[in-house]
Symmetry: C2
Subunit: 308 residues, 2 copies
């Protein structure tokens, strides 16, 4: 049976945009619940400036605790540059991710660099991570449309993905940051990417702004992709991208994949426990497009409402 | 540019299960709004027993009014048997649909017949409709899973679809009545069907119970299907199938198709007008998975461009 590897990015991409600070112990519990549900890979936090993203200020503390309490779990941390990489490495992180936006304006607005400089920073960070023998992921963000520039040229996406691979990225994550992709564009872009790079190194990261995330995930799977990012409960958004909604929900992708004959190793009832916990922490209702059905299906969880 | 033909079934499949009777004038206005939005095909009503489905008691009156006021529009009506066909024909209907459930139990619970008898009734009705020179659609319902029997054998679906084609059906509508299909099963079933019947005669009808309808529609499109049923605002359900939720929303399928380079001829802002009208009639919020985004997009509050 074909295996699909899902990386749950809820603790990082999901939480970074939340208005209330989630305590380190709660982040740890969310990670523990995801691990207990069978999620094989978790993006746990981001070593960015605490001023820019206060939600991630406890990254070092969190990663140290994860290392102590869940040593067998594969977690990764986002690092913006070599300084972030050093902090992550000092905290015991074994896998890091860099983010490269594919347009000039997005880089200017996000990190106040032009695209060439941002690319060089990512390359340097990847090479330094490689020297530290860390596993690496490289996001190519706004890889479909940019909220400021419109459609991102496919050639740019291909060029940047290849540069990240050459700089040593073990995994290239093609991200539909604002959730504007359609399955037809996903097919076109991933078919082209799979023509340039080993398909096993490619991953897809969708947001569900237009309700298209599950269809896009299926289109990526049909193009041979077997690594997908998702966020339990669909928690998420991007603080720097206007109009971005929650990530593809982990439960939606698991339901779709398992129903289509792909093995994820993830338990839907386990994910429901994580959603229930996250709801209590964030004080609002969470859940992907399948949540109403899942709640009925696993009716034991019906009685646990969002706390608010 | 490839064309996708969407049949909006909201006036029939959408309304048949609504608790409050929708007046004939309101049904006519919904049909007019769908026509104005560019929907090329509309399933307008059902000539079933008014005792079984009171919502459809005004079928003859509605179809006569549609014929007078929207003579250029392609509408169809569901007929359960030759008696229903005669009523539909007397009302000026030019296209009819029959429904054949693919399992014994569903037929027993739904129409108190066994599968063999139900098949024969559909064949007779199709042949009689053909003799009247009407265009015909034949649904194969519960073509993925039956709420009473579980997974429906693919061979049964193939056999019944072929029988409907031989009896003269111009279009065979493969229906995921309870919304349990996944894109992988859609691919398997439609690939098999397309191996047995001309793909141009096949249509797909999805329900969005698990949030899988858009992904399933894309999987059907990838199998060569160019006819999809949908219901504006996702109105719908099936009174006889426990667990069935609303139909695939027309706006979701149009957004997905147009974003993927398929032409539908349907205006999203036109569909929003139909949803707003239907909401006022039914007294509750309607809309597919893209509705939050569509409302922002067409309110001028969203800077995100429509991808093309």
């Amino acid at each position: 049976m074909d295996t699909l590897i899902i990386t749950d990015v809820a603790p990082r991409d999901g939480l970074q945009n939340q208005p209330t600070f989630v305590p380190t112990e709660a982040k740890l519990e969310l990670i523990r619940l995801l691990h207990a549900a069978g999620v094989p890979s978790i993006e746990a936090c981001s070593f960015v400036s605490p001023k820019a993203v206060p939600q991630m200020a406890d990254a070092a503390e969190l990663m140290a605790a994860v290392g102590r309490r869940l040593p067998e779990l594969r977690t990764s941390a986002l690092v913006p540059n070599q300084k972030g990489l050093e902090r992550a490495h000092a905290a015991g992180v074994r896998e890091v991710a860099v983010v490269l936006s594919a347009t000039e304006t997005m880089n200017q607005k996000n990190i106040n660099m032009d695209l060439a400089r941002a690319t060089a920073v990512c390359e340097d960070t990847l090479q330094a991570a490689r020297a530290l023998q860390l596993r690496t992921r490289a996001y190519v963000a706004v890889a479909f449309d940019c909220p400021f520039e419109g459609p991102t040229p496919l050639n740019t996406v291909l060029r940047l993905a290849i540069r990240m691979a050459r700089a040593g990225a073990d995994e290239i994550v093609i991200a539909d940051t604002i959730g504007s992709a359609s399955p037809g564009t996903v097919k076109t872009r991933f078919d082209a990417l799979a023509g340039e790079l080993p398909v096993a190194t490619l991953a897809a990261h969708f947001h569900d702004t237009r309700g298209m995330a599950v269809a896009n995930a299926w289109a990526a799977i049909q193009a041979g992709i077997r690594r997908l990012d998702a966020s339990v409960g669909g928690i998420g958004g991007c603080p720097f991208a206007p109009g971005a909604a929650g990530n593809a929900a982990t439960e939606d992708l698991v339901l779709m994949a398992e129903g289509s004959g792909l093995h994820t190793g993830i338990s839907l009832s386990g994910l429901l426990k994580a959603v229930t916990f996250a709801q209590a922490q964030l004080g609002r209702e969470l859940g992907g497009r399948s949540m109403a059905w899942l709640r009925r299906r696993y009716a034991g969880h019906d009685a646990v409402p969002a706390s608010s």
